[in-house]
């Protein structure tokens, strides 16, 4: 039943979907990291996650933790270590709700 429910959420709440995939002008910190001036929240998340994988930033003892390098720190509130669990929340901070 999950697909139907998801579909319902999507159709009931187009705004929710929109703030996930709409392109947004990025703040300067994020712009440097992404290498582009516009992206969506989803695109940003995927970029950060693939950056973590490419640079092997997951803690070898506990894969659920990410040891940030300087570049990643600049995006994730300057934290030296973040949990994978909070990654979506941290990225969401860069994408404040836009008053329409």
């Amino acid at each position: 039943m999950l697909p139907q429910r998801m579909k319902k959420v999507m159709t009931d709440n187009p705004k929710k979907l929109a703030n996930l995939i709409d392109l947004v002008n990025l703040p300067s910190t994020l712009r440097e990291f992404m290498g582009q001036s516009q992206t969506s929240r989803l695109g940003c998340f995927k970029r950060v996650w693939s950056y973590i994988k490419e640079n092997n930033l997951q803690d070898p003892n506990n894969k659920n933790l990410v040891n940030c390098d300087e570049k990643l720190k600049s995006v994730l509130l300057g934290k030296p270590q973040v949990e994978l669990t909070e990654l979506p929340t941290l990225i969401k901070l860069h994408f404040p709700k836009q008053p329409r």
């Binding site: 999950l2 697909p3 998801m6 996930l20 996650w49 659920n64 949990e83 994978l84 669990t85 929340t89």
Partner: protein
């Protein structure tokens, strides 16, 4: 050509085609129509190039321009350039079809006249006019006037519309969303002398079921019965019952069953299968057993679908024991259980919190030479995660990765939750990657699920439910 009595027309036509076209293309018998029809509607540019005419360069038959004069010039050069123009009508029909695919109906008719004028050996046959008929049906707006134009053209040229024409017109009209016009045309043609055959009739009924309210179809059936004495047959009833079951209208289904027997039809295997499916749709899987008993009383032999539906229904309503029994029964009857059978049964076992039994069944089915499909794997993954056997689930997921099996939304969500609950967030991220990589889900769907699962995890941690 003068008017001929209907009895002679078909014979006349058959002789004509035999003389004109050496290749066997007599009017297709009704049964082969569905096979014949798609040939006509194939991408027109491919057809002339493929097998119709090897002696002519293939590229020239592609009409890039929609202008009539360009097409005429092209055709003229085509005829004058080849020393021995083909006598095969198929070629000219393909040329016409190619042109008609991106021109207007009027231009196509002019072009056909031009073809006849420039190249007298070509005399259009029924299929030539059917090309025009298809085009006219596509260009129907609210009135049927273009179709009438072509039908009149056909009649004046000695090919009055027959069953095949009706079928082609109806199919084209329906597939371009003009069901009302299709009904109008059928009624009109029935009042002349090309009534729809059972295939056309059932096609309309099926199409109406899918795309129009129930009352439209009922009206159509009533009008055909009263106006032209064309009655629904057993297949029609099966379509109708299937339709009302899909829309969960049990009362109508029961009524139809009554009508069916009043009309003197004896329900066959397919009708019973449909009823069984209907009960499953209505979440009354338990009722399938009653239907099965009825079948046995009536002496109707169950087929593979019957058993699959039976096992599915029983599994769904939590009667796995009975379902297992029927797996043996069907094998004794000489049916080979397929992936659907096994997956239904596994689904039932997982519902009964016996995922290990389901995995054992997977091994058994593979040993019997039946390959599991993506549904099987997803059912098992779902069951294992629900049954808190995450390590086994992980192993299964590895197998799925090797076979590049796609994840389904349901099992993906369950899997993510199970992983997060056990503090294996990193692996959840891997599953997310796989879902996107294998194109199982859209990026948005995959991400939304991941995000909400992580949110749920955070909440659960705050409440101390998960470490």
């Amino acid at each position: 050509m003068g008017k001929l009595p209907p009895s002679l027309r078909s014979a006349n036509f058959a002789v004509n085609t035999l003389i004109k076209t050496p290749s066997p293309s007599p009017p297709p018998p009704p049964t082969s129509k569905p096979h014949y029809y798609p040939k006509k509607s194939q991408s027109p540019k491919k057809k002339p190039t493929s097998n119709t005419e090897p002696q002519l360069p293939s590229s020239i038959v592609a009409f890039d321009s929609t202008s009539l004069s360009d097409a005429k010039t092209l055709f003229n050069s085509l005829i004058s350039n080849s020393r021995n123009p083909t006598s095969d009508n198929k070629f000219y029909n393909a040329v016409l079809q190619s042109f008609s695919s991106n021109s207007t109906l009027q231009d196509s008719i002019f072009f056909l006249n031009h073809m006849i004028k420039v190249h007298p050996p070509f005399s259009p046959d029924r299929f030539t006019y059917h090309v025009l008929l298809i085009q006219s049906c596509k260009s129907v707006d609210l009135s049927l006037s273009p179709v009438h134009q072509v039908l009149n053209l056909m009649t004046t040229n000695g090919f009055p519309p027959n069953k095949v024409s009706t079928d082609i017109a109806v199919r084209t009209l329906c597939s371009s969303g003009h069901e009302e016009q299709a009904i109008e045309l059928v009624k009109e043609l029935s009042s002349k002398d090309s009534p729809p055959d059972t295939y056309t009739y059932n096609f309309i009924v099926r199409h109406l079921c899918k795309n129009r309210p129930l009352s439209t179809m009922n009206n159509f059936i009533k009008e055909m019965r009263e106006g032209f004495d064309i009655k629904p047959d057993l297949v029609t009833y099966t379509i109708m019952i299937d339709n009302v079951c899909n829309s969960k209208n049990l009362r109508e289904a029961t009524r139809l069953l009554g009508v069916l027997s009043e009309e003197g039809y004896k329900p066959d295997c397919y009708v019973y299968n449909t009823i069984m499916k209907g009960y499953c749709m209505l979440s009354q899987g338990g009722e399938v057993l009653g239907v099965y008993k009825k079948m046995q009383e009536e002496g109707v032999k169950p087929d593979l679908v019957t058993y699959n539906t039976l096992i599915y229904g029983l599994s769904k309503s939590g009667r796995v024991k009975d379902a297992k029994k029927f797996l043996n029964v069907m094998m004794e009857e000489g049916h080979v259980p397929d992936a659907v059978t096994y997956t239904s049964l596994m689904n039932g076992m997982c519902r009964e919190a016996d995922p290990l039994g389901a995995v054992a069944l997977l091994e058994k089915m593979e040993a019997r030479g039946c390959a599991p499909n993506s549904c099987t794997y997803n059912t098992l993954l779902h069951g294992l995660c629900k049954g808190r056997l995450l390590d086994k689930g992980m192993k299964l997921f590895d197998v799925m990765k090797q076979n590049s099996t796609k994840l389904e939304t349901g099992s993906y969500g369950t899997f993510l939750r199970a992983l997060c609950r056990n503090g294996r967030v990193a692996e959840a991220y891997d599953v997310f990657d796989y879902a996107i990589e294998s194109k199982s889900l859209t990026d948005v769907a995959a991400y939304t699920t991941l995000e909400s699962t992580l949110k749920w995890l955070k909440k659960a941690r705050e409440q101390g439910l998960v470490i």
